[in-house]
Amino acid sequence: MSFRLTSEEIDPPVLELLGAGGFVEFTGRVRDHNEGHVVLALEYEAFGDLAVKVGNELVEESKSKFGLLEAHVLHRIGLLHLGETAVWIGVAAAHRKAAFAGCEYIIDELKKRVPIWKKEHYTDGESKWIGCDGQEMSHESA
């Protein structure tokens, strides 16, 4: 399975593939601010069964769309503190252009499609599910 959810700290694997000349990795970390708020922590919740299914479909689709030789996604769930890795994506392709494009496509589509939700906890004690009430566009986290 190339798309995984984990409640443990993300320890990215080292991709090794002799047929690949381009390796691109994306790491999304918990940032200390968003939309004018000072962020203390982020909470991620997933509908696990469907998230893994949709995530793996996205990985397979990206591999065939960009000719990626490998693509892996690790997404954290639970409460994360500042600086912690929320998502890691690693792709390998014969050439760099496909690797960059494929990696960006995966993070962009993951944010739109995979049933994972994010709640921001602020220093003023408030908290908010981001974009979850359907009243606004969702925001970038990383």
Binding site: P115, W117, W129, G134
Partner: protein, 79 residues
């Protein structure tokens, strides 16, 4: 008809539960959502949720069957 519903994120908090088994006269996810929205005052409009039945996305006018597990997926924000 007995339907199992699981709730996530904002819908879990607004309903005050992670899952429940309920009797409904609704025959589709759309009908069921409208019923639950009245019961729990969900702030997410029907047009913003995607329906899933037995861990597959479906159209919200899909006909439900006894014992189905329904999850309403509010707008997502992974990454």
């Amino acid at each position: 008809m007995k339907i199992n519903v699981r709730y996530f994120a904002i819908l879990r908090e607004q309903s005050g539960r992670a899952a429940e088994s309920l009797d409904t006269t609704a025959s589709t996810p759309a009908g069921l959502y409208v019923e639950l929205q009245q019961k729990y005052s969900f702030t997410v409009p029907l047009h913003a949720v995607r329906s899933s039945v037995n861990a597959e996305f479906v159209d919200d006018d899909t006909v439900l069957s006894e014992g189905d597990e329904v999850v309403f997926v509010p707008p997502v924000a992974g990454g």
